[in-house]
């Protein structure tokens, strides 16, 4: 990530807090954040999580801070790199809770790290508004960790909506029923593939090619060649960032002739569109947003202005929304964590994604599931309860 805007942010914060300190000797709200800056998930967190956090802190402090009990309080961000190591996440959360006296802690990045931190959030009573924790076990988890909230959806929903999108295309006569399905052999990839396979079969698709590959495989041409040999109508890859890019490039080289091409994580990254340009047209991916919504466009512009990087078209906005939710709760009931947690369970929040509320499993039921690159923008084409879906287009070659 580019350090310069961060220096701008730091100096802005320094000045702002100096001013605030002289103006009204108010204490700051200490908000802790722990996420990967190094290690395997650093790439994802650098695109999706950290910039939205910096943007939020910058904006809130530029407006004078949050209003707590009638007084304005500025946010002081305390950040740690957990090196994609759950042991470090645990240590950092403990440090934030006991040494740094954080009022609130932003949820970590990724399912594994969120789960490692969950017992601690629970023990110290911090609400954990998780974003990048996608799991089917939300009922069990929220029973065990009542402070844990889920915003980005369930594994099954994500997989099911891909099946639905493809079914619709097939029923409209746009393509046949042969699917090639591959997945990265890492937890999320395996979960998605395991959820999707029976759904595909139930929907009447035949899976003509199926394989998995380890994370970090350098050469994915055997995978694409194998898929091409089976002559599928659709190619679905439950993939992670490095293989999302590699598979797409291989498909371009092989000129994979499919009517639908789906790669999962990182497809909504601005870097994906930048790298593949016109060839990305029609590629489906996990997540999505409504990029035409004024709220998102404003968010994206501010994101780029403050952090010198573009947001992705999926989890970035949800991360920001989770922080909006936290801010609204704090302004509503103050800094008492139990009160905030109770408030989170009962209320509906207005965010850049639209209204968000949590059901009896602490889960947000309205989320985006599938998006597609259309005209250089990744647009949501399927969602549970979100407006602004656009029709799906066919993949037409790789030019």
């Amino acid at each position: 990530m580019n350090r310069r805007p961060f220096m701008k942010l730091v100096s802005a914060l320094a000045i702002a807090s100096a001013l605030a300190a002289t103006a009204a000797s108010a204490e700051n709200i200490r908000i802790g954040a722990v996420a990967p800056k190094t290690g395997p998930l650093a790439g994802g967190a650098t695109v999706t999580q950290w910039p939205s956090i910096y943007l939020w802190v910058d904006q809130v402090n530029a407006a004078g801070g949050l209003t707590v009990d009638g007084e304005k309080m500025m946010i002081e961000l305390i950040e740690y790199d957990d090196q994609t190591n759950p042991g470090e996440t645990i240590k950092a959360v403990q440090r934030l809770a006991t040494q740094d006296d954080a009022h609130f802690i932003i949820a970590p990045y990724g399912t594994g790290l969120n789960l490692a931190a969950a017992p601690l959030f629970d023990r110290y009573g911090y609400p954990q508004i998780a974003v990048s924790a996608i799991t089917d076990q939300q009922a069990d988890l929220s029973a065990k960790f009542p402070n844990m909230f889920f915003t980005l959806g369930t594994t099954t929903a994500l997989a099911a909506d891909v099946v639905n999108v493809l079914s619709d295309m097939r029923d409209a006569g746009q393509m046949g029923d042969k699917v090639a399905m591959v997945n990265v052999a890492d937890a999320f990839g395996i979960e998605l593939a395991t959820a999707a396979k029976p759904l595909f079969e139930e929907a009447g698709f035949s899976i003509v090619y199926e394989t998995s590959y380890p994370l970090g495989t350098q050469d994915l041409s055997p995978v694409i060649k194998g898929a091409a040999a089976a002559e599928p109508d659709a190619f679905v890859a439950w993939s992670y960032p490095p293989d999302t890019f590699a598979l797409t490039e291989q498909a371009m080289i092989e000129n994979l002739d499919v009517k639908a091409f789906y790669t999962a994580v990182a497809t909504p990254f601005p870097g994906y569109g930048a790298r593949f340009g016109a060839a990305a047209e029609g590629v489906l991916g996990a997540g999505g947003v409504n990029p035409e919504s004024p709220a998102f466009m404003e968010y994206a512009a501010a994101h780029e202005a403050v952090t010198d990087s573009k947001p992705d078209y999926w989890a970035s906005a949800t991360t920001y929304a989770s922080l909006e939710i936290l801010a609204q709760s704090i302004e509503a009931v103050g800094l008492d964590r139990a009160a905030v947690t109770a408030h989170l369970k009962e209320s509906t929040f207005e965010t850049i994604l639209g209204p968000i509320s949590f059901d009896e499993n602490n889960s947000n039921a309205d989320f985006w599931t599938v998006g597609q690159w259309q005209g250089g923008v990744f647009r949501g084409v399927a969602s549970r309860g979100r407006d602004g879906t656009v029709p799906v287009i066919l993949k037409d070659g790789w030019k």
Partner: protein, 311 residues
């Protein structure tokens, strides 16, 4: 086995020290206990590592592989078997795996061993993901009632076992044989010592211990998935801590674990982006400044003091 007066005194002191350490959870239930867990974990790992790599000078990077296997044993068995049996089972599996690795590589030179262990964690991770993939099983949830204090006491107990084992091995024929091997392997072979067998037997110790440590820590991670359970950085951290303290004494690694844990803690808190850099610098410090660790430094100082006294 005969015990001298010093032996008895040392044993009593050690037992006393352990008893004091066991009181930590009563003093603090949060940050310091967490730090205590980390220190106990690394002490166990580093001391058992040094038991093998100290005498033989073979740098093993396999710790992460065994540790990951241990977490998986707990992850898979938590709903079926009681916790204590899982720890024992993990130790058994770790020992067997170590024996296999040892038989395959310890007859070759030290460099091949290092390279093999460097990728071992990655290899085991890939094999496990492949198995998971073909059985459709995903990440494992370990939801138990075992809290931080419980884990701390388990680790403390394990550390005690490691120290005891190290002490016993040092006094045994195996230990004697290993010291000779470490000094000059050719001499050892010519003296009739089965060097390969000795090395493999000894390598099973850190293998079993690392696996048991992983099994104990699984409840702390809650969610076991391959990329988190097999974090290669763990192997490097263990090596640094053991070498920083000095692998030639039983209590050497402990002397390395404590300062390094605090150092990493300080760096993570204040320079969150520079932890990797610090680890790199630590390696360089070990190689250039402290080739025998703090223990070696201490020996040098004592030697100088003694020679000054003598002259």
């Amino acid at each position: 086995m005969s015990l001298t007066g010093t032996d008895v005194r040392n044993l009593c002191l050690a037992a006393f020290a352990f008893a004091i350490c066991a009181l930590l959870p009563f003093g603090d239930n949060g940050y310091w206990l967490g730090l205590g867990v980390t220190i106990a974990m690394f002490t166990t790992l580093a001391t058992s590592w040094a038991l093998f790599s100290g005498p033989t000078h073979y740098i093993s990077l396999a710790t992460a592989a065994f540790f990951g296997v241990g977490t998986y044993v707990t992850g898979l068995g938590i709903d079926i078997l009681p916790f204590w049996s899982l720890v024992g089972l993990a130790g058994l599996i770790g020992a067997v795996l170590a024996a296999l690795v040892g038989l395959a590589t310890l007859r070759l030179s030290g460099v091949y061993f290092v390279i093999f262990t460097l990728g071992l964690a990655e290899l085991v991770r890939q094999v496990i993901t492949w198995v998971q993939n073909n059985t459709g099983q995903k990440g494992l949830y370990v939801l138990t009632d075992l809290d931080e204090a419980g884990i701390y006491w388990w680790l403390l107990g394990l550390a005690g076992v490691v120290f005891l084992a190290g002490w016993l091995i040092g006094r045994s024929r195996l230990g004697f044989a290993l010291r000779i091997i470490g000094d000059d392997e050719t001499v050892a072979a010519h003296s009739g010592i089965n060097t390969a067998r000795a090395k493999v037997l000894l390598f099973m110790v850190p293998g079993a211990v690392a696996a048991m440590t992983g099994a104990v820590l699984a409840p702390r991670y809650v969610y076991i998935e391959p990329s988190l359970a097999f974090a290669p950085i763990l192997s490097f951290q263990v090596v640094i801590m053991a070498l920083l303290g000095g692998a030639s004494r039983l209590w050497g690694p402990l002397v390395g674990v404590i300062p390094f844990t605090f150092l990493l803690e300080a760096v993570s808190s204040n320079f969150p982006n520079q932890t990797t850099l610090v680890i790199g610098i630590a390696f360089l410090v070990i190689v250039y400044l402290l080739p025998n660790g703090f223990v070696g430094l201490l020996d040098q100082i004592l030697h100088r003091v003694n020679t000054r006294e003598a002259s």
